[in-house]
Symmetry: D2
Subunit: 204 residues, 4 copies
Amino acid sequence: MTNLAIFYYSSTGTNFQLAKWAEEAGKEAGAEVKVRKIKELAPEEAISQNPAWKEHYDKTKNVPEASLDDIEWADGIIFSVPTRFGNVPAQVKQFLDTAGGLWANGKTINKVVSAMSSAQNPHGGQEATILNLYTSMFHWGAIIAAPGYTNQELFAAGGNPYGVSVTVAQDGNMVEDVEKAVKHQARRTVEVTNMVVQSKVNAR
Amino acid sequence: MTNLAIFYYSSTGTNFQLAKWAEEAGKEAGAEVKVRKIKELAPEEAISQNPAWKEHYDKTKNVPEASLDDIEWADGIIFSVPTRFGNVPAQVKQFLDTAGGLWANGKTINKVVSAMSSAQNPHGGQEATILNLYTSMFHWGAIIAAPGYTNQELFAAGGNPYGVSVTVAQDGNMVEDVEKAVKHQARRTVEVTNMVVQSKVNAR
Amino acid sequence: MTNLAIFYYSSTGTNFQLAKWAEEAGKEAGAEVKVRKIKELAPEEAISQNPAWKEHYDKTKNVPEASLDDIEWADGIIFSVPTRFGNVPAQVKQFLDTAGGLWANGKTINKVVSAMSSAQNPHGGQEATILNLYTSMFHWGAIIAAPGYTNQELFAAGGNPYGVSVTVAQDGNMVEDVEKAVKHQARRTVEVTNMVVQSKVNAR
Amino acid sequence: MTNLAIFYYSSTGTNFQLAKWAEEAGKEAGAEVKVRKIKELAPEEAISQNPAWKEHYDKTKNVPEASLDDIEWADGIIFSVPTRFGNVPAQVKQFLDTAGGLWANGKTINKVVSAMSSAQNPHGGQEATILNLYTSMFHWGAIIAAPGYTNQELFAAGGNPYGVSVTVAQDGNMVEDVEKAVKHQARRTVEVTNMVVQSKVNAR
């Protein structure tokens, strides 16, 4: 069976929702799926000053935190991350950076990876953030299976070929309807991951 | 006086329009402005098969082609280019590549540069195309003055901090209203270029 | 059998040599390999003014030019390209841009891709050029299998995780010894391509 | 007078040394210079397990930590950062991310920025890390003055046009001799920053 880890960071819920949709589609596609929250770096007092952040923080207290074991466990990985100045949030970078030991032991090789993003402006770093994340994934020896234009649903979601992305309005709601596109991306990630997993089975 | 070159490539008119708006604002800001069309590489028969392309091609026959002399002349440069697979069109790259001699003689140093882009999908490479162009500009020793979020008009245009970008609908019309944002970017480019020009004057 | 296309652009021979090494390893790995020269855009008189360019140009006159049919034929693709201002040469971009029709018909999807590069300075765009090429490949719906750090030979070659790269000295010779690393990258590209090809066979 | 902040993150001393060279040249160029250490995120026990890290950590205990006030104070900024998987370290991203409030109030606009990097392999992310950092700087509305090829010393240092970069050998020593190139980059950053500062003075 194919192991799919969905690593997300979310302050007010958008990327958590993307992760949940991906989870649903990943399971339907036959993968064993783990949704894992990337650890918060912000102090509790900063979170408490923002009611939407605080609400989501409390609501997802029980979601397990992403660990190095989860990376090792995964055959495929989907990241769901907001943009912070056109790059991944520090929280996400911190999680990646701690994988130095796994990397040195060849444990990050041939993971099949794709990523999703969100931003407050339609062109607020949705593309750049995913591309910058993929740069790190090349260091890992990952196999990148971005969605490209492999499905009509992707166009409705804004046509970001690097990964599905969404714009978050001032009220916290998503502007584009990306559910179907997210699910396509998850299925595609599982499909390509299956190829890698199957080739290992065949090689036995 | 500050010399501003606006180099554009346009098949069906969008980036020509962006260039014209930039020209208007650049002149109002007191710059000497040249709008220059980047040379077409496609054969006439390919152009003729696309009525919208053919129409724009004929309509802009008299716009002077961008030359190496224009690069040398310019204190500031604004590029207006469509995306082709998340990167500048071959036509634009060809124009840049021919500047190898200017580059080797230090004639590309300290040009103040910003860029604008267009694509058919909202996240169809608007960000990536501009960033890839800036990568080349770093080789030139240019000073990059992207718009960032220096003005409220930029948010209305989609909030692309790397440069104003626009989405082109199937019917060829622009989706976002970017005129004011383009004009802000042009003014900002002139403003920063003025700083460089003035420092040369002071140094005499 | 797995079809591997090696598309290269070379003015004075470096990227042709990389392509030949990749061809050798690709064949040993069991792939059907085609080495294809990306079409020159420079006029003959420009070529003639540079003896090293002219010599290589004449020497490789009989290498078949890369065509859209070659893209369609390929299951896997290795690009070998020099940097021009931190991005692919106009010649390479022109070749990619002409694939718009293939792209629109879904014929670029799931190609397994990796790339190699060269530059005259050790940090002269070796990384940026490959990353910019991959950006376009995401638009194609390609699966990117960069070498990462999947093999010890890669370290000896400079440890470029995005793809093997080499520095070309003033005398035209390669600075780093990259033959083994290039061959590893070719084998890896074939290996990942085989997974995709095999999954299609299984799906019948 | 022009205020230059040099923000560095260093685990074993390389980027601290680059920062010190930049400081020396910045002062010689007439700027008021602050060298500031970006705050560590790693726990003390992790640091203690690595003798070289521990030694540098203790040695630089008295270097003031980079603060938001330092960003606001600065007219120009030079970053000196190691690569972590082709991107800035989490520590650096965390520092940038905390500037959200400054950004929202327009306090990051028109800072003149350049960056330097280091990595363990010659092509181990030296280019990508700087480019990814610049992506964030575009969001800030910064003016990017990368060194390009504006000086002969840059070629001796490896010719990274995005910013001076250095390779760190297994023994912790720098491979390339980059001191002169670093000093050139610092002088250039001050020079361009002076232009912006002077234009503000003139506007009064």
